[in-house]
Symmetry: C2
Subunit: 218 residues, 2 copies
DNA sequence: CCGCTGATCATCCAAATGGTTGATTCAGGC
DNA sequence: GCCTGAATCAACCATTTGGATGATCAGCGG
């Protein structure tokens, strides 16, 4: 059986070098190309496709400096040229925000690993993902499990949405307009958010939500 | 002349592998040890010191998962065992927050590079730092220069301090207590902060300050 | 059909925050 | 010695937020 052909996508040369070195140590895995953002990744995919040298796995970071981010890139890859099935996408990133994970999974990623994972874990993930299976980092899996079993009062979708706007510094009025609801409703949502997060004002809510990775900082 | 002996400190195996691979390509540079956090780094330094195999340069990330962070590690290294001069510390990190940069420089770092820097830049920085010179990433240098020449109304130290507390979700009263000043003073500072950042409420101030890398998100 | 949850809105009141003005002190620079 | 900027505080008032209570409605599962 031939090697798993991998496309690396990361904007940090250092990280690409690390992955390249690491994957070189995994028997049965070959890095066939690299890209520094989503746009370049799509280009590479197309190029390799027309050359008849298909990619078996895309290993991609989520946030990439200037270019197209990982989520949209994943969507586009999955939407991709019909005809051949699109390659599985394994996300390898630094952040394990709830929002990020969900977005990546929804976009069609087959796995979500963290960069601080030990090589062996990464190896397993690469093999699983290339084989069409799902590969989640233990931390990520734990977070998702915890989210299901643990009644750490889950925020509703609307509430998370509110939080995100909140974090941009909008006033209640502004959020109300943006979401086409009344200020009263905004306040109700906020009160619920506060009680679920165990805080009593908006800045603390942002701090906690950021810390708990419900929304993302920066 | 013998090689520059480098100690790598980073909590991400992938990044360590990347740096190892990259430095291996630089003639005149040898990685003699690795550590995954500040504590381990200090241990390594001690060990190598007693072995009579001194380190010429510490290449370190700023934030490292569980262990001691880069700033305190830098301080300890610089305070280090008297007798031999402590090795220069080159910070190589992902974030270029004003606060981070200043903290690192104050702690005694001789350089501050970003992980997305091209290899050549990193090579230059390693050589400069090992030679006892200062090495700043262009982005970082630009930020510092801009901060000097550009009258993008600079926040005073006290104001940044306020902002940091603000971002943790504290109320005016709480901040006043914490800083041993009156609420009136807190409010005055906040008003100044708002006008300098061009916002009109605390959450927006946090959002802008985070965006402009005056304080750090997460 | 009933009960529950999430989303929506309203009203009322108390507390926190924001905006303005003005004043004092202190350290540094010219 | 004078000027400036940072830091400190006060008093006042308008606006925003937060907290409590109650109500309606749609959808989902038993």
């Amino acid at each position: 059986m031939s090697d798993i052909r991998v496309l690396l996508v990361d904007d940090h040369p250092v990280v690409r070098a690390g992955l390249r070195a690491m994957l070189a140590d995994f028997p049965g895995v070959t890095v066939v190309a690299e890209a520094e953002d989503g746009d370049a990744a799509l280009l590479e995919l197309g190029k390799l496709h027309t050359l008849g040298e298909p990619v078996d796995l895309v290993l991609m970071d989520l946030q990439m400096g200037a270019g197209m981010d990982g989520v949209t890139a994943t969507q586009k890859i999955k939407a991709g040229e019909a005809g051949t099935p699109p390659p599985p996408v394994l996300i390898l990133t630094t952040y394990d925000t709830d929002a990020d994970i969900l977005a990546a999974v929804e976009a069609g990623a087959s796995g979500y690993m963290l960069k601080d994972a030990p090589p062996e874990q990464i190896r397993q993930a690469v093999l699983s993902a290339a084989a069409g299976q799902t590969a989640l980092a233990p931390e990520v899996a734990a977070r998702l499990m915890g989210r299901i079993r643990n009644p750490s009062p889950a925020l509703s979708g609307r509430e998370v949405q509110l939080l995100e706007l909140l974090a941009t510094g909008m006033s209640n009025r502004a959020m109300a307009k943006q979401l086409f609801i009344s200020e009263a409703t905004v306040k109700t949502h906020l009160v619920h958010i506060y009680s679920k997060l165990g805080v009593d004002n908006r800045t603390a809510a942002i701090a906690v939500a950021t810390q708990r990775r419900i929304i993302r900082g920066r």
